[in-house]
């Protein structure tokens, strides 16, 4: 595992240093938001999931032992928070109360209503989060395996299928996968 650039801040935050944790939030907020937004396809829900993820991280900092990168640990929490958010929405659809959007909100809204997001929405949830972790956030097979709790082989298989499907849906692909004839 490479040295964790977050380690000094994490140690301070684990001792209760709130400002150190705020800096960790600043470092990772946009990437967590991207993960949640691309997975959920809804800005407001993604914001809730990101807030929940950081809250869980703050509460659970004591259990982080540095066995993985802090970002990997955080992504795993975010994946779970986004999943829970989706389940809640399924169980009890609620109207979201939204305030006036700022420029970033509008940009995110536009991105999440575009062709790429529609293509992502056509993938199953596992494929979607795998391809976002890999192709947007640059996570390795091993990191994705740790974040999503599956074997690396499963990660590769999901990534393979997701990429071909995305290419097809976006009109940049042709046929399907080869058969081993």
């Amino acid at each position: 595992m490479p040295p964790d650039p977050d380690a000094p801040l994490v140690r301070r935050a684990q001792r209760g240093d709130r400002l150190a944790f705020e800096r960790l939030v600043d470092r990772h907020q946009h990437r967590l938001f991207t993960l949640a937004a691309r997975t959920l396809g809804d800005r407001s829900e993604a914001e809730d999931a990101v807030q929940e993820a950081f809250l869980r991280a703050w509460r659970g900092l004591g259990s982080f032992r540095g066995g993985s990168l802090f970002s990997t640990w955080l992504y795993r929490i975010c994946v779970n928070a986004a999943h829970d958010q989706r389940e809640r929405r399924r169980a009890e659809p609620v109207e979201t109360v939204d305030t006036a959007p700022d420029a970033r909100d509008r940009f995110a809204e536009r991105e999440l209503s575009g062709q790429l997001q529609r293509a992502l929405a056509a993938l199953d949830e596992e494929q979607r989060r795998t391809v976002v972790l890999s192709d947007v956030l640059g996570c390795s097979y091993a990191e994705i395996a740790e974040i999503t709790g599956v074997a690396e082989g499963t990660v590769k298989s999901r990534l393979f299928r997701a990429r071909l499907e995305l290419a097809r849906l976006l009109g940049t692909g042709g046929g399907g996968a080869p058969s081993n004839e």
Partner: protein, 220 residues
């Protein structure tokens, strides 16, 4: 074209640059001569490129402030937990010392009372002050325990708070809205030659805004 197509995941590894060196040559050569596999590789690259080009979305400042506000409402991140292995040992040790002291008192008529108590408090202090678990046995009050040498000043300026924080961030300060107040963290970092000390720059920015109802908390 070779008789047998490579495994599909080898094609993915080829695209990702993760294929073992020994296999790279043969797989690449196959792909070059095989229309079907080269098409799959093209699609894999297209699928990756589509998302990669979309980049990272930005969380709005409003949502960012919401995270700080939510954490504000939380109690401390960690509490003293007796069952943590390192602490458990210390708690057991302290208990044994207390028991031993009580036995000594019973046997020798109260002479060891103070000593036993001191030993137990020393152990408790060791635990509170050392290493990762330095939250002082669950004592509340982050700022005092974590930043014992810190100093905090408050200034009241014209708001709104979010606008003040944004202006300070634009000037290179770490500024955040917490419970309606603007918290500025001065880093004390060495400044480039010719640049005013950060406190002077901060004062200048705040003076520009003039007095008002928004509290700016300056932490050092």
């Amino acid at each position: 074209m070779a008789d047998r197509h490579p495994d599909e995941l080898d094609l993915l590894d080829l695209v990702e640059g993760e294929l073992p060196r020994a296999a790279q040559g043969s797989v690449a050569a196959h792909v070059e001569g095989c229309a079907r596999c080269s098409e799959v590789v093209r699609q894999l690259r297209a699928g990756r490129g589509a998302l990669h080009a979309s980049g990272v979305l930005q969380l709005s400042e409003r949502a960012r402030d919401g995270i700080s506000a939510a954490i504000d409402e939380e109690p401390r991140a960690r509490r003293f937990r007796f069952w943590e292995p390192r602490r458990l040992g210390l708690v057991v040790a302290a208990t044994l010392v207390l028991v031993a002291s009580a036995v000594a008192v019973a046997q020798w008529g109260g002479v060891g009372d103070e000593q036993g108590g001191d030993a137990a408090s020393e152990l408790a202090e060791d635990d509170g002050g050392g290493g990762d678990g330095a939250e002082g046995g669950g004592v509340e009050g982050d700022a005092q325990t974590v930043l014992p040498e810190s100093r905090t000043d408050t200034i009241r300026v014209a708001g709104p708070a979010r606008e003040v924080a944004a202006e300070l961030r634009a000037e290179g300060f770490e500024a955040r809205v917490v419970r309606g107040e603007v918290v500025v963290q001065l880093t004390g970092e060495r400044l480039d030659e010719g640049q005013a000390p950060e406190e002077d720059r901060l004062q200048a920015v705040l003076a520009e805004r003039g007095p008002g109802r928004v509290t700016v908390r300056v932490e050092r």
